[in-house]
């Protein structure tokens, strides 16, 4: 739509240059790199994005946050007691003091020809091990830095951290380095002191991870079949003795020796940590750990083990094989596998999208399979993680994907009291699927959600959209619309199910309808909840939500594609219904029932269409990460941002600010735009003047609270009551020209839809008359003082112009009933 505008920033608008896109850094991935225990096993150092968090093992709390890197960290290592090395992708190595969280030294290992790094290891004798991209695309080369000397150890090793191991220091200062080659079919071993090079191969099973003991000459490898091999004397022997430990059915993702090489820990996507006793038959299990184990790290004093999981959590397991503490980041959703081909990436990565919760000002979206999390975007923290499906998380078998119940859609009622969730579980291999629509009510006393109603198979096929009716005053029973691929739309209402024994309310299907056997594709309620729009492929239908009477169908020759996203305008643009199909964007005027504008042939498919709840603007996010902000009344974008991110956006949301932002474009005054990409990283489109998130939260602290206590302060009264009345300035409620709105609405409504003159004449005249009640007299007196605004406020126009439409219907119905009576009487 804005191909010309997209070329550069719009100079005409104020402050638009200041708009920046920032990656949310405070809720990052904490499991990308394995965590590191300090020597005394008291702290756990966790790399997350560009920073390092130091956590107490005892309490699981964050002690320090070390920030200085400007690139993502690729490795952590303990240099000596309480000194931590961290290295980022650019090769910058920083030494930190763990105790006080201070930066000690900053060096760079980047030299000519070595600019980018994959992994970083520190075997503790002043030597670094780093892997750097090699000529071969898939692999990397392993280098050893010793002071200023660089030595190439291996070429063509795997990129991952798990494919490099070192150790076997048998007291003579020797160092054995082992690595998996990038094809993962062999283990390369190098003894740096005795200069022995070996390459061991086994059968065709590919290795996934390697570990070496610190002192003993022993090595463990895991492979994709779930087998663990323990290699003995692998440096000197060409055909070393191997012991096989096989319990895992899926690939082993991490192996780890205990400090005395008595035990071996292993884990993988079975979500089970296995503790093997080496040389014995016994093994212990820790099942149902929540999600796939990525890394296992053993504490130096053997007291505990830390496991990193794919759901962005690190769990600390004590010596009795119990989970002692867990450190959570923002939970990441494992992408759903086995969906049909036609599904977009959003359906697999984050099927719920971002759903705003008005009660907490948080955002609902997927966490683990069957879970839903509420995230606070202001504080960048998770409020809670909620089990929706209440099912055991199933793991895959070796050759079959076993799906779990996944939360697919979420809707929150306008007050935040009700939460509707749709969980879907489908087994593609047997063609069976299962759906549950659950209604949860927030219990303010218990401070959690309680399951109210659970509907099995609410539709015969997948529900594509859920929407609560907005604009209710709280007196009516809430109402939810669901549309499904079984060509039906259903209206769900809360019904009173109270009897003399208990008070109860539950949800039930009120109406199920369809429209010309067409597939409903999108649904939206108008801002005041008085109109329900359902898009059936290329046709938009407007319904009265109370009676479910079809008001209007809107279709046009220009629109051929199926509508995928649809939103009513807010605020001043309440009358516009913005629809997005795969490559075009258009708006209907629901009052004049005409197509207002259409923008076709967009460069990339539309991914999200989000209205700003605090203003009348909307944003459209394209697949190539272009963002257009526009008012629904015109097709001209207010702002265009290109290249928001390098990855693909999947969901977006306007998040209200606690305090309005002055000196910024109108659409950023009250809210900012959050975008999520397919890596589930959050990006914020915001004004440049807003720096940190903390600043917005600062509440003015009164001096009284912060001052120390003195005898004089005790004398001073805490509250002062005065009999003198405070003068409150009168605020004008009604100003403008008398009857302006009715005239305006009369002019705006098309003549074909106007009711007969005789019917509207009366109300029209009443609107023009001046009402003589004392209240309006005072207002009038005030307005004469010159503070009046001659133009009508648009808010008034908004309310007033809606009224005639409703009246019109009422009269028509009256006519109809009269008509019928007349027939029956004759």
């Amino acid at each position: 739509m804005a191909n010309k505008k997209a070329r550069g920033p719009d100079k005409a608008k104020p402050n638009t240059d200041n708009i920046v896109v920032k990656k949310q850094e405070d809720a990052p991935d904490i499991v990308r790199q394995p965590p590191v225990f300090t020597d005394d096993s008291k702290y756990l150092c966790i790399a997350s994005g560009r920073q390092v968090g130091i956590y107490s093992v005892q309490s699981g709390d964050k002690v320090h946050c070390l920030k200085n890197h400007s690139f993502d960290i690729i490795g952590l290592a303990i240099k000596e007691e309480n000194v931590l090395y961290s290295c980022d992708t650019s090769g910058e190595v920083i030494e930190w003091d763990i105790n006080d969280g201070k930066l000690l030294k900053k060096t760079s290992i980047a030299v000519e020809g070595l600019k980018e790094f994959y992994s970083f290891h520190y075997p503790r004798n002043g030597k670094f091990l780093v892997s750097s991209p090699s000529i071969n695309e898939d692999g990397s080369s392993l280098f050893m830095f010793e002071g200023k000397r660089i030595k190439k150890i291996f070429k063509d090793v795997g990129k991952e951290t798990q494919s490099i191991a070192f150790g076997c220091d048998q007291g003579d200062g020797s160092l054995v380095i082992g690595a998996l080659n990038y094809q993962c079919d062999g283990v390369m071993v190098k003894d740096t002191k005795n200069v022995i090079d070996r390459k061991h191969m086994t059968d065709k099973r590919k290795f996934t991870c390697i570990a070496m003991h610190k002192e003993k000459l022993i090595m463990a490898t895991g492979d994709i079949s779930g087998r663990i091999l323990i290699w003995h004397d692998f440096v000197n022997q060409i055909r070393p003795v191997k012991t096989v430990y096989h319990w895992h059915t899926l690939a082993v993702s991490s192996v780890c020796f205990s400090s005395e090489a008595e035990y071996l820990y292993s884990g993988g996507s079975e979500k089970v940590m296995v503790k093997w006793r080496l040389g014995g038959k016994r093994k212990q299990f820790l099942p149902r750990m929540g999600s796939t184990i990525k890394f296992i790290v053993n504490a130096p004093d053997n007291i505990c083990v830390a496991t990193s999981h794919s759901d962005n959590a690190i769990r600390i397991i004590d010596s009795t094989n119990k989970i002692n503490r867990a450190i959570f980041g923002l939970v990441k959703h494992d992408p759903i596998r086995g969906l049909e081909d036609g599904e977009s990436k959003k359906e697999s990565v984050m099927p719920t999208g971002l759903v705003f919760d008005p009660r907490t000002q948080g955002i609902f979206f997927n966490s683990q399979a069957g879970f839903l999390q509420l995230f606070d975007p202001l504080r960048d923290s998770m409020i809670f993680n909620m089990d929706i499906a209440n099912r055991n998380v199933l793991t895959d078998e070796r050759n079959t994907v076993i799906g779990n119940a996944e939360v697919f859609r979420v809707a929150v009622s306008p007050t935040g009291e009700w939460l509707a969730t749709l969980e879907v579980w489908s087994n593609m291999s047997v063609g069976y699927h299962d759906m549950n629509l659950k209604f949860w009510r927030y219990d303010a006393v218990q401070a959690n959600y309680e399951l109210n109603t659970d509907v099995t198979m609410p539709h015969h096929d997948r529900i594509t959209s859920l929407a609560f009716q907005p604009g209710l005053l709280g007196t009516e029973y809430p109402c939810l619309v669901s549309i499904g691929r079984d060509l039906k739309f259903k209206i769900w209402r809360l019904v009173d199910d109270t009897d003399i024994y208990r008070q109860k309310e539950s949800w039930t299907c009120d109406v199920a309808g369809d429209f010309r056997k067409m597939m409903p594709t999108a649904t939206s309620f108008s801002e005041d909840g008085s109109l329900l729009a359902i898009a059936f492929q290329d046709t938009v239908t407007l319904w009265d939500p109370m009676t479910i009477n079809l008001n209007t169908t809107l279709s046009h020759n220009l629109i051929e594609e199926s509508i995928e996203l649809m939103e009513f305008g807010r605020d001043q643009c309440f009358r516009y219904l913005v629809c997005a199909s795969k490559s075009s964007l258009f708006a209907w005027d629901v009052i004049s029932k005409g197509l207002v504008w259409k923008v076709g042939k967009l460069r990339s498919p539309i991914r999200c269409l989000v209205p700003d709840p605090k203003s009348s603007y909307m944003a459209v996010v394209l697949q190539n990460s272009e963002v257009f902000v526009f008012a629904p009344s015109s097709s001209k974008p207010v702002h265009t941002i290109t290249n928001v991110m390098s990855s693909e956006p999947i969901a977006a949301l306007f998040v209200p600010r606690p305090n309005p932002l002055a000196n910024s474009p109108e659409w950023l005054v009250n809210s900012r735009l959050l975008i999520v990409d397919d890596q589930q990283e959050f990006y914020s489109v915001d004004d440049n003047s807003v720096c940190g998130f903390d600043e917005k939260l600062t509440t003015p602290i009164s001096h009284m609270d912060s001052l120390p206590w003195t005898p004089f302060s005790a004398i001073k009264a805490q509250k002062q009551i005065s009999a003198a009345k405070q003068i409150v300035p009168v605020i004008h409620q009604t100003n403008g020209i008398k009857g302006y709105k009715s005239v305006q609405s009369l002019l705006e409504t098309s003549t074909s839809t106007l009711p007969p003159m005789s019917r509207i004449c009366n109300s029209f005249m009443i609107d023009l008359m001046i009402k003589h009640d004392p209240k309006s007299m005072t207002v009038k007196a005030d307005s004469e003082n010159g503070a009046t605004n001659d133009l009508p406020t648009l808010m008034n126009g908004h309310i007033e112009s809606k009224m005639p439409a409703l009246k019109e219907e009422a009269t028509q119905q009256k006519l109809l009933t009269l008509d019928c009576q007349w027939i029956t009487k004759n």
Partner: protein
């Protein structure tokens, strides 16, 4: 470590009577003891104090029953013709009864002697009551009059002749000795105050001949029955109608309060007694009787329910005592025993503590919590160990598959989820295969289970497609096919009917929804009515909590 979550068993809520606290309470009544009298039981009155003797008037006698022994304690036969409406005084010493000849007779229960005869009515007296001060009697007679009598002097104090038909119902206020209520066949219910001899203070129209009236203990509300209707009136608002309840399909004959005035019981000619909640007038329970109920009596402690019937039967039902309940269900008592054993085991621990009195549990002592594993059912245990065949075997046991098929289906559902159904079904011998096949055939047409059962049946067919079967199993497969064919036939019929209904509905909607609302170019949209929608979609709604 997250704990193992139990397999979710989904069962549809049963349609029909729900089990509520009231049904459980009233279901505890034992099998009735019946006594046969010669004539229909006109009236039953319960002594308000212990031992809750029951006065039964039928034919030409009044009998006083002991509710515990069911024996006749006293009987009064000094009536020439039928005796009516015997009523016991609140101190349990005197009984008063009306009779066909228009007299009202007062007896002493202790000595059986006839103490007073009040003469003055010209027609039979069907109801008579002691007033709250215990020294007056109110009588309601077929000569259309209501009279107040003085006990000591045996004289008539006042007489109201306002009704235009037989007065067959009446009651007195339990707090005020001057207020009494009469209900007549002329459809009116009148409230009298003995202090205002000019006439009734309130008169309300019931709409049908009044069979019985009742005044609530609070004196603010009274209830009248007649025809098939129960009407509730507000006395303080001058006889405003509060509620009209019609739950019987034949004439309601009697009224009684139960459960400390929290429940109202009506008996009718339709052989039912309905129990209402006095707040909402919803029926909470129904008692059934073999013959039309004419009179009801319930002891104040709800222990005995007595009903008199048109064929002369008196049914007396007792509430089950806990001991009786235990004797009836021996299994439960076994469970109780077990429970006591376990508590004993815990007590040992406590005793140990008592011995070591000096022992002080320090703060760092770890308290071992009880393991929840004992609550895990067998099938969950097998599912947890991935032993799918065993899990399926467990739920195919005779009791579960017959009595609780929802559990079997729930486990099958879980097996489908876990992709373990094929391995669970494979390699079965003839007998276990026949169990599965019979189960499938029996449940395949149950709408709440059919989706999963069909899936299981398909998998079963896939598994045993190419194996040779014994004739017995083959027969069962054919049996299953027959079931499916029959169900398909039914569905076709139903769809035909649904189509017909749609035509009807569509024609009605087009009639009502004609007008300018529909601007769209197509034909009017079909919107199903809620009921039709519910029937057509058959979504299963589970209410939780």
């Amino acid at each position: 470590m997250a704990s193992f979550k139990k397999t979710q068993i989904r069962s549809l809520p049963k349609i029909g009577q729900k089990v509520t606290a009231d049904t459980l309470y009233w279901r505890k009544l034992n099998f009735p003891v019946t006594v046969k009298e010669f004539g229909p039981i006109d009236y039953i009155d319960v002594m308000p104090i212990e031992p809750y003797f029951i006065a039964v008037s039928s034919a030409a006698k009044v009998q006083i029953y002991n509710p515990i022994t069911h024996q006749v304690h006293r009987h009064f036969t000094r009536f020439k013709e039928a005796a009516y409406g015997a009523s016991i005084r609140s101190d349990g010493k005197l009984v008063v009864a009306g009779c066909d000849e228009g007299h009202i007779k007062l007896f002493d229960i202790g000595s059986k002697s006839l103490l007073r005869i009040f003469k003055g009515h010209k027609g039979p007296v069907h109801r008579c009551k002691f007033t709250a001060d215990n020294v007056h009697v109110v009588s309601f007679s077929d000569d259309k009059s209501v009279a107040l009598w003085d006990l000591p002097s045996e004289t008539e104090i006042i007489k109201f002749s306002e009704h235009s038909d037989y007065v067959r119902a009446g009651c007195v206020s339990s707090i005020s000795s001057d207020l009494f209520l009469s209900g007549s066949f002329d459809h009116t219910v009148k409230l009298y105050d003995a202090r205002s001899p000019t006439g009734s203070t309130i008169s309300v129209d019931h709409g049908s001949p009044v069979e019985s009236v009742l005044m609530y203990p609070g004196n603010s509300i009274f209830v009248s029955v007649g025809g098939t209707e129960l009407r509730v009136w507000d006395m303080l608002a001058g006889g405003r109608l509060l509620a009209r309840v019609s739950q019987h399909h034949k004439t309601i004959t009697c009224l009684h309060l139960a459960s400390d005035g929290k429940r109202l019981v009506t008996g009718g000619l339709d052989r039912h007694a309905k129990i209402y909640d006095v707040q909402s007038y919803q029926v909470v329970h129904t008692l059934d009787f073999p013959s039309p109920v004419l009179s009801l009596g319930i002891t104040p402690d709800d222990f005995t329910v007595v009903a008199g019937m048109a064929n002369g039967l008196i049914s007396m039902q007792h509430r089950q005592t806990p001991a009786e309940a235990r004797a009836l269900i021996p299994k439960q008592s076994l469970k109780d025993q077990k429970k006591s054993q376990t508590t004993y085991r815990f007590r040992l621990n406590a005793d140990f503590r008592n011995i070591n009195r000096t022992f002080n549990p320090a703060t760092d002592v770890e308290v071992a919590t009880k393991n929840d594993n004992s609550l895990v059912s067998r099938y969950d245990m097998f599912l947890r160990k991935f032993q799918y065949s065993k899990a399926l075997d467990t739920v195919l046991g005779k009791y579960i598959r017959k009595k609780k098929p929802a559990i079997t289906v729930g486990v099958m559902h879980e097996l489908i989820r876990r992709n373990g159904l094929k391995s669970a079904l494979a390699g079965r011998d003839d007998s276990s295969l026949s169990i599965i096949l019979t189960f499938l055939a029996r449940n395949i047409n149950d709408p709440s289970h059919s989706k999963i059962i069909i899936q299981v049946a398909n998998t079963l067919l896939d598994v045993y497609e190419n194996s040779c079967l014994t004739p017995q199993s083959e027969k069962l497969f054919l049996h299953l096919q027959e079931h499916v064919n029959r169900e398909v036939e039914y569905m076709k019929h139903l769809m035909e009917i649904e189509g017909m209904l749609h035509i009807l509905l569509a024609s009605t909607t087009t009639q009502t929804r004609r007008g300018p609302v529909n601007i769209g170019q197509g034909p009017p949209v079909k919107v199903m009515l809620p009921s039709a929608a519910a029937a057509a979609n058959a979504t299963m709604v589970y209410n939780v909590g």
